[in-house]
Symmetry: D2
Subunit: 336 residues, 4 copies
């Protein structure tokens, strides 16, 4: 046969699971988008359509929801590890599982005491009528929880959009690979960025810049050293928080002569300070902010007014590694 | 002629203007997306293509950038008022200007003192070489600003994505209409929401719910009472902040028997507490979180595991008005 | 009470329904996205949360699917009329129903006879094994339908993306309003477009153009004259096809001095030729194609190389009416 | 130094170039989105910010536009080859160039002769007035080109959205790699698809299907055998057209027992019939169409009414190779 099957994988993508944990009146929320991808002894289903070795993608979806109940969701990484282990160890034909997770952040709605009269001026007029039917909702309308209540409910959340946390957990039955990261973290320095001294060829018209805006939408993926059940896992949430902090700090504190330099500072800061991380890769679009030429209008633009451009954009991508570590994050970062 | 021209308008949409204000080493940023729409004595350009009365959309774009320099951007509303007034008063054929503005929020990158060794363990190796060319960047690499610096630079920002602030300013040469609002404010209550007692017809299969998740992505537009140059304008930024706070508070504090009830509580809270606002309209998609049936797996789902659905979704829309106010916000909220 | 409820509506949005009709081995497909919005005697649910008058949005969703079976889908407009009539006539508190429909187009996969050896060179190796389990799929793998089969199956479709057809049907128990249209129809003329003779103000820097590209993404909505059950309905599909054809023809054949002029030609062509249509509104972004300045590279750009810009863009909007018709399409076109 | 730089690349992404070629009154259009990515001796710019080896991304953008003039755009692949060769051979520090191109398809607006009176009933009323200003546009309004004109203008286009053609050209100074493909080709079979005989575990609830809709949005990438300037290049456009045809044909003609089987048939059909292609990879989301349960409404759904679901979705990915060929397309297909 002249054609053969190469690398293949399958599973259910984008299972949106929300897990609520109730600790008395204080609730906690985890909001994930989980994608399962399995590979193994699956040639037959491609060649002949025989599904003998195929666990339906629908079952992998059900597993995500059942595991959210059975094991809870401590962190995206921990949840992914449980899922990956399950598929590889429970399904003989499955030799490798890759779990990708996006996590959406929520923060509690915490409001100051009413200031402009507060809702205390609203006496709940008209909100009680609907409740009488069966007494279930005698409180109808807004709860009468004033500021002095000892144990106010804490079950209200607002989604924060600063960045999306991502993770990919891969297990082949023996060793683990965990790559975590973030996307859509948009940052801007309004000064301390220059760009000059570059190569000039026939097609170069760009003028050198000695004080420009530097802005980017950080997409980063870092690979953990942890790869064996024999080792202790990192504290995934703490590690995420600190890696993000190092990235922000290096962005803010680097006096930049090029976005590549800023990238390297962000990466080396993570590698140097977080021993549990061996490798990090960034994809940094240069979100150009062009100084608008106001001279035709008799105005001088003293680094005040910029046009924020969409396309095209410079795209800077690189990996920073711990010396001796093997580079394994692929050149193209994908969303999940 | 059997056909005639009806309502028409034109202008440059989505001018992305970023304004940096430097107060010593402390910078401030305003990031807007401004759309200009003009109407007036413009029949000829439609009937014959004569551009005699047409100020090019390119000129309206230039005006946005020039005004950002000449007048600064105090608030989106104030900036829109200046633009609208300019077009109507300076262009004889233009009788009405409508300025729409989206505002993207940035917050300062504020980092705790280094904890895991900080970047102080990074001695800036290799970051100085690039600077020698002309001495402009002798500091090359990260700035040597330790924690003890008296006046650290404050020019680093991270974009926050909680919601997008929007505004629409309309001027016809005499009176003003300002409609402001927000989009994409995603909120969730993990309890205190019921839905029962509804009409049941031949096509009703829904089961009543006595403890469900209530989540929505708030899109709100409120119209200010202010309409004349003779009156004092509201404090736009303060008004925005307080309106948003009332919306969040009412969402969190309402024990909800229907999303309509929650909507009305949010709206009436704004109208009752903010005298400068006459009317508010909401478009609230019911972001369904369905309790997953785990019984087939021998598990009980005690309001713990939910499937967050995309489509279809309930869509609840309504206006809440100050008694006596004229409803003028259109039924369909548009993005800008 | 100082606040009152204004215009309100609710329903299930974006019900994705696909209807297959089998005519022997020839299948037909209708693919719609249906949004239901109901209004009427619904104050109570807002004021108190009483759902007594509320038919759940879930029931409106079920109705869409049940009606696809019971009545079929002859056209989006006809389907919407059936739904709107149902809600208003069967639910006493519902006084008005608005149905919005997006329709996605599919065309049959029609392939030429195999040319480069065809798949006939593939002998279906290995495709039969999977079928044996219960004999249901003895044909396993590709069907052995050679070119000479008398009645080849016709059940394969490819989605065409040229434009999306939209419709909005509103019924208040007495009269009807049907507004149909299209979105995302992207068209371009590479010549026969000029722009000059415009107003020049202090902020004008644009140079006049005597041969430019004119490109836009047509969004159009037209309102039918039909409003009463006493009149015969138009042939909705024929009317749609012809209106689109008139728009394309007028775009192609107009020598344009401004996008406004082209808009008016498109609109008047529809109104003059289609007696069933009283009013049409367009929203036309001017998709700028800027001539790239190649002089710095010693090259002359003789209207050959363009930069296709994203933002900002000119936005031209206008209504064209049959003389005497009342303008009722709102200024802001919304997607559905 | 404990950290080192790994794989890195940079360039200008998403340069939108439109090239018009005029052959008398008949125009031709090429519409591309070109992304340049360069790598080589670029450690210094990361470590120190020295831009000595950095050709600005702005220059790479200019090169795209200049080359569109100097060389024309015969095909996306040919254009990418010229660009890649240029960067590697003209810039000593650049050792590898990767050019990614998306191509948007346009077709000519070809209209039937006017049927419902045509625009001939429109006497161009009012369209001439605007032209008088300087005589440049004496034809003002629609061109008077009736059906009988010998040489009608052919400069009007409508964008087709069936799929987007993509290509990636990589050159390291010696050998070439060309990977082409398509995205967003949405196809559907309304019958001849089954799914049964699969593994059932504790979490399996799916019922077997003996006649289901099979729909997917094909994303495919194929790698050409061509890798050396010593060999003749394929006819890129012909190869693309035929590969797409084989994919469509195999989709339509395969009686499918699983989407994996359909994938393999599509891939092997391309490999077997197109000798110039060595490898092809697919990413196929299973666009689920669920049969709606109409029994609660007393209706039988005889494979007629489906709910088209968005998320989650099955995702099937695999490579099909010519025996002996080396697999080089990465597991994750990226957009460009």
């Amino acid at each position: 046969m002249p054609t053969i099957l190469g690398q293949n994988q399958y599973g259910k993508a984008e299972n949106r699971v929300v897990r609520i944990t109730r600790n008395g009146r204080t609730h906690h929320i985890k909001d994930l988008n989980v994608s399962v991808s399995l590979s193994g002894d699956l040639a037959d289903v491609h060649y002949s359509g025989s599904n003998t070795h195929v666990l339906p993608t629908d079952s992998t979806k059900n597993t995500v929801y059942a595991f959210a109940k059975e094991h809870g969701i401590e962190s995206a990484e921990q949840f992914g590890i449980q899922l990956a282990r399950h598929f590889v160890t429970s399904q003989e034909p499955i030799h490798r599982a890759r779990i990708r997770i996006e996590e959406y952040a929520w923060e509690r709605i915490e409001l100051p005491e009413g200031t402009d009269g507060g809702i205390g001026t609203d006496e709940g007029a008209g909100t009680d009528e609907g409740a009488g039917t069966d007494g279930r909702a005698a409180a109808g309308g807004r709860a009468g929880t004033g500021g002095g209540v000892a144990d106010p409910p804490r079950h209200s959340f607002v989604r924060t959009g600063q960045e999306t946390r991502v993770s990919q957990i891969t297990f082949d039955g023996e060793s683990w690979e965990v790559v975590s990261g973030l996307t859509d973290l948009t940052v801007l320095n309004s000064t301390n960025s220059e760009f000059w001294g570059y190569t000039k060829d026939r097609y170069t018209t760009l003028r050198e810049a000695y004080d420009r805006i530097l802005a980017t939408e950080v997409s980063a993926r870092w690979r953990y050293h942890w790869s064996s059940d024999a080792e202790r896992t990192p504290d995934w949430d703490e590690s995420y928080a600190r890696a993000k902090e190092h990235i922000l700090r290096a962005f803010a504190e680097t006096y930049s002569l090029s976005l590549q330099q800023t990238l390297y500072q962000m990466g080396s800061s993570v590698i140097e300070n977080r021993g549990e991380i061996d490798e990090i890769r960034f994809s940094l679009p240069n979100k150009h902010h062009f100084l608008v030429d106001l001279e035709p209008f008799g105005l001088k633009n003293d680094n005040e007014v910029y046009f924020a451009a969409d396309r095209p954009y410079g795209l800077i991508e690189a990996t920073v590694l711990r010396d001796g570590a093997e580079p394994r994050i692929p050149a193209d970062l994908t969303r999940l």
